[in-house]
Symmetry: C2
Subunit: 187 residues, 2 copies
């Protein structure tokens, strides 16, 4: 049945769309504290500007991504919001200089979202890797780049749910909800 | 511009799709501790069985919902997974007998997700209402049905992000992550 190389880990644009919508709508992103990258199996990296307003509608999203593959950045004039370039995950991490890398995998050490996030909150530049594919696991190459590999549920969870929980827990442990209300009261 | 009655609060199927995917993939739902209903502005209620595997793909989702509007339940044979019937939100709540109703609104009392969930965890039958529309607010009629109306972010958040955070926080305060690992260790 599976004739493509690494067929189980081939990204599905619908999963990427769901992960991005769950990441970009967070207060963490609105506070400009989040950088989002999508790495593809063909070793391309899409850089996502925090202020991009991604289409909520899936068909408009896939049109946008098709345009991105043609022009390499969108929009073609003005500030770039999405950009694609050839890059391995290893090279991407080298450029990001993470102070600590957490990877999520159902094969990882049993943990909870809260415990997985704890060591990241005091880090200068923490990075999280979540596999945006329906089945299959992170490659050995990817797990070797990680300081910790944890599982936050015995059955495994959909990638977009993992993204939501990790970012919310990071915000919570960084007291961002309280800070945002304090800021509003001062205005 | 807005010529439809309550145009701002007209549901968008893409928002409903995102909310449902964020709710149905949770451990809370897998533990059969969640019941999900979609109430429409035309006073129809869609009941969602916890075991339904909703299409991740938006186009397949809208086809399924079109079928549902024609046949009133899907699949047409075997156990019903989605069902639609005429019902007001008031009547739905009467049937559900909630012990406490929490409504989320950017006009509500400033709070955090964790604090908003706290009073629900010890309740026998807590119910949460989230508006699945892009702008606008819950109607007065809806807020009158609620015991508390809270806002979890000063800017407001996308409906699917609100759903994710509330359900995760409810699970966390109910110690479901730990219980699921304990259960796995016993197997």
């Amino acid at each position: 049945m599976l004739s493509l190389r690494d067929a189980e880990r081939r990204g599905r644009p619908d999963i990427v769309h769901l992960c991005l919508l769950n990441a970009l709508g967070t207060p963490l992103n609105k506070e400009q504290m989040l950088s989002v990258y999508v790495h593809t199996l063909n070793d391309e990296v899409i850089s996502v500007a925090p202020e991009v307003r991604l289409p909520r509608n899936y068909n408009r999203f896939t049109s946008l991504i098709e345009q991105l593959f043609q022009t390499h950045h969108v929009p073609t004039e003005g500030k770039t919001l999405l950009e694609i370039q050839s890059e391995t995950l290893q090279d991407l991490l080298r450029h990001l200089h993470p102070s600590r890398v957490l990877a999520l995998s159902v094969l990882g050490e049993p943990s909870t979202t809260a415990k997985a996030i704890e060591p990241l909150v005091s880090e200068e530049n923490p990075t999280i890797i979540v596999g945006g594919f329906p089945r299959g696991h992170l490659s050995d190459q990817t797990t070797r780049l990680s300081d910790a590999i944890v599982s936050i549920d015995p059955e495994g969870l959909d990638a977009w749910i993992v993204v939501s929980r990790l970012l919310y827990e990071f915000e919570k442990q960084s007291r961002i909800p309280e800070k945002r209300w304090d800021q509003r009261r001062k205005e």
